[in-house]
């Protein structure tokens, strides 16, 4: 083997080891790398009430109730399980029923969550309004169709 070939093999082997180590580290840390849990994960993990965490999912259609003093109550769903969320403050512009959101706050009881921050998540779809209107007219449009 030439010297260049040896150097190339050495670099390749070193990179493979580094990549493997990084993969192991990230896999081990994946629980803290995720930005939020879905309602199902929260119910499974069943953290003690009072724990701070982020819950993400879709705002369940028909669940949003706004009262005075910018208070809002809504349900975050992953279409399997639900978490009831209460919040006081300004909601982001993109917030609407069927939209993906991430709520940060404190779990009060299993399935009940008080958020102090609500962030909107938008999906990977981009299109002009007319296209959406046309799709809706044909009945081929579903709000929150893509995964949150």
């Amino acid at each position: 083997m030439t010297r260049k070939g040896r150097r190339l093999t050495l670099i390749g082997a070193a990179l493979a080891i580094i990549a493997f180590a990084a993969a192991l580290a990230l896999y081990a840390l994946s629980d803290s790398i995720v930005f939020f849990y879905g309602p199902t994960e929260v119910l499974q993990k069943n953290p003690t009430p009072g724990t701070r965490l982020r819950i993400g999912g879709l705002v369940k259609a028909g669940s949003l109730v706004k009262t005075e003093d910018q208070k809002a109550a809504f349900t975050i769903t992953d279409n399997a399980n639900n978490v009831a969320v209460t919040y006081q403050g300004l909601l982001p512009d993109l917030f609407r029923e069927g939209q993906g959101v991430v709520a940060e706050g404190v779990l009060e009881a299993p399935g009940r969550f008080h958020a102090d921050t609500v962030l909107a998540k938008h999906d990977e779809r981009y299109m002009p309004r007319e296209v959406v209107d046309a799709l809706k007219k044909q009945g081929r449009w579903q709000e929150g169709e893509a995964k949150p």
Partner: protein, 253 residues
């Protein structure tokens, strides 16, 4: 093509090519920006979606430039080619610049859409790591005085940093993130309507040409800088022979 690896040929050829590259870049930016403002607003983001035409090309360039640097790093470590050293060194500040544009525009886009300038989700954090890697590489180049040693040290750091590239790309698939998943380079094709996608592709081409133009200019500067350094050293050595003791002590052969 391989003649380009000769610094003298590179200087001569790029002298003629650079004006054309610059003109093509300016024209593509003119077309791309015009299309970006002429494109229809998005159904949920409205006019704010236009930040995409800066943010996404800058994000693609930030990883693409790192890829270019990694290839040059292989050229340095395996083939020990001085042109690879120059290409590596010239790319780092450009990569840092594009990554900064990506982070800044993303932050400005995040506030109106998500409701926050910054979160520590996997995509945002891994791109910040990329930015810090670029800054670290620039610092490394400046710390080591001997050009050859600096090039080898930077090449090793560059190659180690490569593990970050797949993490950036797939962070939105592997973990829950606030950042959206890929819209263009994904299985099943783009999820951007053609009216919005075309301006994005033209802008990406403009960004790519801008990088090529600036990279070529920076490599030329690096070649010339080395020539000047070598000539200065030779002149200092000659002066030292003619009048010993006048040249600074460090320059004596």
């Amino acid at each position: 093509m391989w003649n380009l690896a000769n610094p003298t040929v590179f200087i001569a050829l790029t002298r003629r090519a650079l004006p054309w590259l610059a003109v093509a870049t300016a024209m593509l930016f003119a077309i791309g920006l015009w299309l970006s403002f002429a494109a229809p607003p998005d159904y949920q983001q409205g006019e704010t979606v236009r930040i995409m035409y800066l943010h996404v090309p800058a994000a693609w360039m930030s990883t693409f430039i790192y890829g270019v640097m990694a290839l040059a790093a292989l050229g340095t470590l395996v083939w020990r080619h001085p042109m690879a050293d120059a290409a590596q060194k010239a790319a780092a500040p450009l990569g840092a610049g594009f990554t900064f544009i990506c982070l800044a525009t993303g932050s400005l886009w995040g506030k109106p859409m998500w409701g926050t300038y910054w979160v520590w989700d996997a995509r945002l954090t891994s791109v910040l790591v990329l930015f810090i890697l670029y800054l670290g590489l620039i610092a490394l180049w400046r710390t080591i005085e001997d050009a050859g040693r600096a090039a080898r040290a930077a090449a090793i750091l560059t190659l180690v940093g490569c593990v970050n590239l797949p993490i950036i790309k797939f962070s939105v698939d592997w973990w829950n993130t606030l950042h959206q998943p890929a819209s263009v380079f994904r299985l099943g094709g783009p999820t951007i309507a053609p009216e919005l996608l075309w301006p994005l592709l033209i802008m990406s081409l403009a960004f790519t040409l801008l990088f090529i133009t600036l990279h070529v200019m920076a490599i030329r500067n690096e070649i010339l800088r080395r020539r000047v350094a070598r000539l200065t050293m030779m002149a200092a050595a000659r002066d030292d022979r003619l009048a010993p003791g006048l040249a600074p002590a460090g320059m004596r052969p």
